[in-house]
């Protein structure tokens, strides 16, 4: 409730200068593609059923075209001739307090930026690109939900989004290393920190050292089995998350990305490997160079691609009979639809488990779990997040699987909540956990 009041108070105190700044930032995010998108919607409404929010709550406000129109109406009013001459005819509206409130509710509260509406739009409008421009504008007006912004601020201040101290991080890594040595029986098994000149710099979601150490241990076990030359950073540059992709502040997002670039330079690594995280992969692989306005002098890979290579090249050997429980796979939107990593995880899982069943639909047509777009960091929309996750819960239930593999820690958090809420009675694991379990010893 305090968050609700705080945001409302900020809305009430908006000045003409705030609106002007919002419009300027909005305009600065538009390029030729976005200008086309904003001129294209015919309001056919067929996109409605593509949205998990609409599927679980069929109100007008959840129709992607309606969310788009809120923004397009402001675009028309401020940047088109017809919007100025005949606003009533073309639905052009000013950016005022009511509209700003509607934007916040829509682009933060009713959209996980999953992009499923894009692939289902009969015209082909990439709606999240417009929603991102609107989020950036709201940010310039001081209207980012404070808990989402706090996650970004943590990363900027502490070098990781959970404000872990260096000591906590290093000690956790050392403890996991001991666990790995016990598990493998190899006293030389390592979780190397700051290994100068290592081939790979591996990055993780801070939720792993904080809440899911077994997940990090599993990745380390795979590297150990593959005899990989890898390291992690003890200073900033170990956290792969970047919530700047959700508050859409390119400057802040770029500063967080710079931690990774600096760590790569500091340690002299060749390949930046992103652990299992959808938005982290999207931020580092696709958006980072755009935020920094320069290409990387190194390669970026998902650990999924790396594990796929290990299996293909025979660097690790897997025994699927070690994973006999039926498995299904969740496709994180930022990794699959927006990231292009569709098959690597499937190839790996088919080698690592006995029974693999696809969810329907899957790959670029997957449903968002409901936790994307920064939803997990915005407490005020928790009810909608859990409700909209109902589509994913139904997919899981229909698959008949008892283990859901999700190569994304944000998705895992959401799936764990869905597991309780919808009584799915499933286990939720990462791909690396399945692979680590299936490893044939001394591979």
């Amino acid at each position: 409730m305090p968050e609700l009041d705080e945001l409302e108070s900020r809305l009430e105190n908006l000045t003409a200068a705030d609106f002007q700044r919002g419009l300027e930032v909005f305009r600065s995010k538009l390029k030729e593609a976005e200008a086309s998108f904003l001129n294209s919607c015919v309001h056919c409404g067929l996109c409605a059923t593509s949205c998990h929010y609409y599927r679980m709550d069929s109100t007008l406000e959840n129709i992607p075209a309606h969310k788009l129109e809120l923004i397009a109406s402001v675009f028309k009013r401020n940047f088109t001739t017809m919007g100025r001459v005949a606003p009533g005819l073309v639905g052009a509206k000013p950016l005022d307090k009511d509209m700003a409130r509607a934007w916040v509710d829509s682009v933060f509260g009713r959209c996980s930026l999953c992009g499923r509406c894009s692939v289902n739009c009969t015209i082909g409008i990439a709606l999240p690109r417009i929603f991102r421009a609107a989020r950036a504008a709201l940010g310039a007006m001081g209207l980012i939900p404070s808990d989402l912004q706090a996650t970004v601020d943590n990363a900027l201040k502490h070098g990781n989004n959970m404000a872990m101290t260096r000591q906590d991080w290093v000690e956790t890594v050392e403890w996991i290393e001991e666990e790995l040595q016990m598990e493998t029986g190899d006293p030389e098994a390592r979780l190397p920190l700051d290994k100068q000149g290592a081939k790979i710099l591996f990055t993780v979601n801070p939720r792993e050292p904080k809440f899911f150490p077994l997940s990090l241990q599993a990745s380390a076990k795979v590297f150990w089995a593959a005899k990989e030359d890898w390291t992690m950073a003890s200073d900033p540059g170990w956290d792969l998350t970047n919530y700047g992709i959700f508050n859409c502040n390119d400057e802040q997002a770029g500063a967080i990305t710079q931690n990774l670039v600096d760590a790569m330079e500091r340690l002299g690594c060749k390949t930046l490997v992103i652990g299992e995280c959808g938005h982290g992969y999207g931020a580092a692989r696709w958006e980072g160079p755009e935020w920094l306005q320069k290409g990387y002098p190194f390669e970026v890979k998902s650990i999924l691609e790396l594990m796929d290579e290990y299996v293909r090249d025979g660097r690790i050997k897997l025994d699927p009979s070690k994973n006999p429980i039926p498995v299904t796979l969740h496709d994180p939107c930022n990794l699959v639809r927006h990231g292009g990593i569709c098959e690597a995880q499937r190839r790996v899982l088919r080698k690592a488990v006995t029974s693999f069943t696809e969810m329907t639909p899957n790959r670029e047509h997957n449903f968002c779990c409901g936790g994307g777009g920064g939803q997990l960091a915005m407490a005020r929309y928790k009810g909608r997040r859990i409700q909209s996750g109902g589509m994913k819960a139904k997919q899981i239930s229909d698959s008949g699987a008892r283990i859901v593999v999700a190569p994304c820690h944000n998705c895992i958090d959401q799936l764990m909540e869905l597991n309780k809420e919808y009584k799915l009675n499933v286990q939720i694991k990462t791909v690396a956990e399945m692979v680590a379990e299936a490893l044939v010893s001394n591979a």
């Binding site: 001129n39 005819l89 073309v90 639905g91 739009c121 990231g339 690597a344």
Partner: protein, 209 residues
Amino acid sequence: MRTLHLGVLLALAWTILALTFLHLKAKAYGKRRLFSKPAGDPAQGAFYAFTKGMAPWAKESVMMNLPSYAAGMVFHAGVFTGFGLLLLALLGLQLPSALLAAARLLALSGGFAGFSLLLKRCLNPQLRGLSCPDDFVSNLLSSAFALLAFLGSFGAAAAGIWMTEAILLLVYAPLGKIRHCVFFFSTRYHLGAFFGRRGTYPPGGSSHA
């Protein structure tokens, strides 16, 4: 009739000029310079977006709303047929009778399909909620044009009304959402190029990681 023909030509010139201006205005926003290393081919993605990606079975939204989608396709076919018939009328040419019959059927079906979609927009509260006056005007003008193309193809009596309607439609086209006749192509290209560059389109393609 001559005056009407001239009116249609002038309206057509206005439409072409205005739509070209709108297209150039959108292009003037500039291209985004991209720095990330591509995983796939934007051109292949765009090709997919305009081909297999437009197939009804490639979109769940279409499969779940087949009657509306079919009505939309017939509506568009009817309007384009209407423009074909209009061009022939302006040039004083006539189609062979079998082809003319097919064109009339398409225009008639398109008109009815368009009006069925207009009716749906009026009756469905959510579609009404999505709509602004332009949605109704655009649909009305286009549907009437297709229907009048059917009637006008029979002779001079209805042809006058058809030509007048054509002028109205052509003058209005760049002002409202009918401008999507241009922006559809650039939008679809940008969507395809985006997903193509990231290796998502074409699904199962060589760049699929």
